[in-house]
């Protein structure tokens, strides 16, 4: 078929030249086009699409991609290439051009790992499942992240972007799972309970010592996993057999393995054997053992142990304080002696802890339990210095916490992204998300205590009366259904009629009961108010007036509602303004905040929809509505968030919202809205109000129609 005929050189050259802006960049595309011309149409399409998608991010990366892809990767699994391209673009977003180019240039790493047709396991695909998997295993709550090699710092498990060691995707996934389980075992079975400096300082070749030690630990952990997760251990054996890793293991290593397989073996046994292993041939390696990075572990552990010690001591002090409050007797002279008692149901389990106060057991609160478990994993016991309640001066946890910084500090002095929430953004050129792209902060609207609200109420007093009446009619009222086949009470009217019928010789109805029907309005609604600079003036006034009228009516109706404003100034400063959250009452403070709504910067919508959807979904309700009050299409300053990009991101965010069961709706005064709203919200999911003045009159009415 003509449709499937490969593109000619000419057909390939032209788009490539446009995408790579050859006119300005002087990139030579002929060679790329020539090698592409030799491929099938399907392959051509694949490479061309990706080149185009990358070119919207960066032309240099797109060019390097095209060169390398056509040079060596033509017959590789397309999913692996995709992962590689996306990884490069993510790196570009996160760290800039140079690291991204390194990823692209590192393609040899991908290729030499892979078989000719390897079906790799891609981090994006497996990380979710494996994160849940590792949470299911006992111990500390570990995180999973993408790294340059498989290793762990004792809190985060790092895995490569693509694993393509095995030929089949399924086996590669199993390998990832084995890596995760192995790293988990390192934290669970105390591989890091040694001082790395002391342990390896004595050896001349520290690198060798580290390697051999890792080999010994691998043997010990394999035995632990064999006991703990026999099913997985079988799979790990199978992987090793496939890769022929079991062959030709030196005798001395087999002996090490036997010794370390003893159930009581600890990291100290491995350390003791290291003197022999240092002289022995190189340790056999396995596909899942990854790397041992003492520096990362030490850095992470130092920070954690300090933090946890302080935390535990403060928690203990708080516990004592609580208990003292409850005690009616005179305060005691000496503080009680604190101790912990471990109890272990079976020898392989992490023990659970009871706190002993002067030998009286006290059940520790949930947070303390987790702390104790984490401390136990680090030390194999709870060191006594951890069990001293903090003194009065020691209560300051702030040095360990990143939270709670004032969002306004961001633009003063040094720039930091701490304390912010990150949201992805849809890049339609790339047809993929930009990860952690928007830096979102929640702030409160500065309340203004003036007479705006009373004035509005005065101005619309007639309308408000009318709205009260209509909305009261909508409240969920119990309805008595008569003549039902089943119900709480006998419907005497129906019964009399039925009896009369029966006397008459006619058929007697069986609908003789009354049933009380309770219709429950179970609606939660989120109002998302445009606070961009373009609303300045009477649009802002109209928005505020609408909100006052809405609050008045919603209070009557009893629906749960929240009001948030949004505005943005580039992706680094995406702001959500709290006006009223769901649990807040409509009081003077909320009124003052409504009055205090002021136009801010630009209209970046995607992050706002994503964040407010999350807030809305935390509320339990049958129907969840997300209503946007807006004055125009998405538009942000400087970083390309306008026209198609902004609309597509907003649309994507709305699709995500709908997927979670939220019903989005848009009320706008943009007369141009007809052009883009159907695409963003869907045909019937928006309303355009042609006169700003009418906004307050209409909004409540629209809400009524939406929810009945």
């Amino acid at each position: 078929m003509a449709d499937n005929a490969p593109l000619t050189l000419e057909q390939i050259l032209k788009p490539l030249e446009t995408w790579l802006e050859v006119e300005f960049t002087f990139i030579h595309v002929t060679e790329i086009a020539e090698s592409l011309a030799r491929l099938t149409r399907e392959e051509q399409d694949f490479f061309l699409t990706w080149t185009r998608r990358i070119s919207t991010t960066n032309i240099q990366i797109a060019y390097q991609f095209a060169v390398r892809a056509t040079a060596g990767l033509m017959h590789m699994d397309q999913r692996v290439i995709e992962a590689w391209a996306l990884h490069a673009m993510d790196t570009y977003d996160r760290a800039g051009l140079r690291p991204a180019m390194q990823v692209i240039e590192d393609v040899e790493n991908f290729v030499h790992l892979s078989h000719a047709h390897a079906e790799g396991a891609v981090f994006e695909d497996f990380s979710g499942i494996l994160l849940t998997f590792v949470h299911g295993l006992s111990g500390r709550q570990l995180k999973i992240a993408q790294g340059d090699a498989p290793y762990t710092d004792s809190e985060t498990l790092f895995l490569p972007a693509v694993v393509a060691t095995m030929e089949k995707a399924k086996d590669n996934f199993t390998l990832c799972k084995a890596m995760v389980a192995f790293q988990w075992a390192q934290t669970r079975f105390g591989s890091f309970r040694i001082n790395f400096n002391d342990a390896f300082g004595a050896y001349e070749d520290q690198e060798l010592a580290l390697k051999q030690f890792h080999g010994l630990e691998t043997l010990r952990l394999e035995a632990c996993l064999q006991r703990e997760l026999p099913g997985l251990a079988r799979e790990m054996q199978r992987l090793k057999q496939t890769l022929a890793e079991n062959e030709a293991i030196p005798n001395i290593w087999q002996r090490f393995a036997e010794l370390l397989a003893a159930p009581g073996a600890t990291v100290n046994d491995s350390l003791r054997m290291l003197t022999d292993a240092y002289q022995a041939p190189l340790a056999p390696t396995t596909c899942y053992q990854g790397e041992l990075r003492p520096d990362a572990v030490t850095a992470c552990m130092t920070k954690r142990t300090e933090h946890e010690k302080m935390h535990l001591r403060i928690k203990l002090a708080q516990m004592l304080e609580e208990m003292q409050k409850q005690q009616t007797e005179a305060p005691r002279e000496a503080p009680p002696k604190i101790d912990v008692k471990e109890h272990q149901d079976s020898p392989n389990e992490i023990p659970s802890f009871d706190i002993m106060l002067d030998d009286m057991p006290v059940a520790p609160p949930e947070g303390v339990k987790q702390l104790l478990t984490s401390v136990y994993l680090d030390f194999g016991e709870i060191p006594p210095e951890y069990l001293v309640a903090a003194g009065d001066g020691d209560y300051d946890l702030t040095q360990f916490e990143d939270q709670g910084k004032n969002p306004d500090d961001v633009w003063q002095g040094t720039y930091h992204e701490e304390g912010a929430t990150f949201y992805p953004e849809w890049d339609h050129g790339r047809q993929h998300y930009r990860k952690n792209w928007c830096v979102m902060r929640e702030k409160d609207v500065t309340p203004v205590h003036d007479d705006f609200v009373p004035q509005t109420l005065q101005k619309y007093s007639g309308l408000i009366k009318h709205l009260h009446r209509t909305f009261e009619a909508m409240r969920d009222e119990d309805k008595l259904f008569k003549r039902q086949a089943a119900g709480d009470e006998v419907d005497i009217d129906a019964l009399v009629e039925a009896l009369a019928d029966a006397r008459d010789g006619r058929e007697m109805s069986d609908r003789l009961f009354m049933h009380m029907h309770r219709a429950e309005r179970n609606v939660a609604v989120m109002f998302m108010v445009d606070m961009s600079g373009s609303t300045k003036g009477w649009i802002n006034d109209a928005e505020r007036e609408s909100l006052v009228l809405l609050c008045e009516t919603l209070e009557r109706l009893g629906d749960r509602y929240a009001i948030y404003g949004f505005s943005g100034n580039t992706r680094k400063r995406c702001e959500i303004y709290r006006i009223k959250h769901f649990d807040e009452r409509y009081d003077d403070m909320v009124r003052a905040r409504i009055s205090g709504i002021r136009p801010q910067d630009y209209t970046r919508m995607g992050f706002a929809i994503r964040h407010l959807t999350k807030v809305l979904n935390a509320i339990e309700a049958k129907t969840r509505l997300l209503i946007t009050l807006s004055d125009g299409k998405p538009d942000d300053y400087f970083d390309g968030y306008r026209s198609a990009y902004g609309i597509e991101d907003t649309r994507q965010a709305l699709i995500e919202a709908k997927r979670t069961g939220v019903h989005p709706f848009c009320i706008t005064i943009d007369k141009e809205g007809q052009k883009y709203l159907p695409h963003m919200y869907g045909a019937a999911q928006y309303v355009i109000i042609d006169e700003v003045r009418k906004l307050p009159l209409k909004v409540a009415d629209i809400y009524r129609r939406l929810t009945t």
């Binding site: 979710g128 499942i129 494996l130 994160l131 849940t132 998997f133 949470h135 299911g136 295993l137 006992s138 709550q141 799972k177 389980a181 997760l229 026999p230 099913g231 997985l232 799979e235 149901d345 079976s346 389990e349 709480d488 009470e489 006998v490 019964l495 009896l499 029966a502 003789l512 009380m516 309770r518 339990e620």
Partner: protein, 270 residues
């Protein structure tokens, strides 16, 4: 056993139900029963609340009337209602009234699910008055001295809207149930599903893994009841991994990714 129809107040439990005490709950229940105090059972689903009630009913030799509450359950469903029979209305007692008259144990399962108006009839029964107002008959039924009211509720996953009111909860003697200790749970699973002990140990370990996931995607971990189900499947010759999938994983979640992760956990274990 053949199917047979019984009046609900004639439902005596004849054979001793299998129950392993986890603490002093039996003693407390008996003391409360002797003192005519109503009892509130708290705890996650499938940890043995209903089995405990059956056991106590057997031990006290009282009939057990169980009502599973749902969000459409009204006071009339408990107290009774008029029905039309042959051109006349006749009153029919509801399960609670039957229990009150016959001196049975009435067990209202998941009480918070019921409509608010049911509390009106429960309150006077649950304090020292021990009377049941029959609004539609205009009478009061004072409870038989053997009558006992027990309700259960799961504080874990109900919404704030459905929390038990202080005025209700403060009438009851509360017994807290949780999953049994590892040791005991394995014993229960082995005993109930007739599998050998090492396998039961593994099932319990698997349950602990799913309970670790509570809060990170699961509302509730695998209950002891599900372990027994899985154990029964295994003893009928189903492969452990498949049994865990059908009896446990699919029962606790519909989320595809969560299912896959749980599947990975069980395949790692067996």
């Amino acid at each position: 056993m053949q199917a047979r129809a019984l009046e609900s107040e004639a439902y005596f439990i004849e054979a001793e139900p299998y129950y392993e005490a986890t603490g002093d709950e039996i003693k407390i229940f008996e003391a409360a029963y002797r003192n005519k105090l109503p009892i509130l059972l708290k705890g996650p689903t499938g940890c043995g609340k209903t089995r405990f009630m059956e056991y106590m009913a057997w031990r006290l030799q009282r009939p057990l009337i169980t009502v599973s509450c749902h969000d459409d359950l009204t006071a009339s469903d408990l107290v009774g209602r008029y029905l039309v029979k042959g051109g006349e209305t006749t009153w029919v007692d509801g399960p609670l009234t039957r229990a009150v008259r016959a001196g049975a144990i009435c067990y209202l399962d998941e009480i918070v699910e019921a409509r608010k108006d049911t509390m009106v009839v429960i309150h006077p029964l649950a304090d020292d008055r021990r009377v049941l107002p029959m609004e539609k008959l205009g009478t009061l039924v004072s409870a038989d001295e053997n009558f006992c009211l027990a309700v259960s509720y799961n504080p874990g996953y109900q919404s704030v809207l459905k929390d038990l009111k202080q005025s209700t909860r403060q009438r009851f003697v509360a017994l807290e149930f949780d999953y049994p200790t590892t040791e005991l749970e394995a014993k229960i699973v082995a005993n109930e599903s007739k599998i050998d002990r090492p396998l039961a140990d593994k099932l319990v370990k698997f349950a602990h893994m799913t309970r670790n996931l509570k809060g990170s995607g699961l509302d509730e971990g695998a209950s002891t009841r599900l372990l027994v189900h899985a154990g029964k499947l295994i003893s009928s010759g189903i492969e452990p991994v498949s049994a865990c999938r059908s009896a446990i994983a699919q029962a606790i979640t519909d989320d595809v990714e969560m299912l896959a992760a749980i599947q990975e956990l069980s395949s790692s274990l067996f």
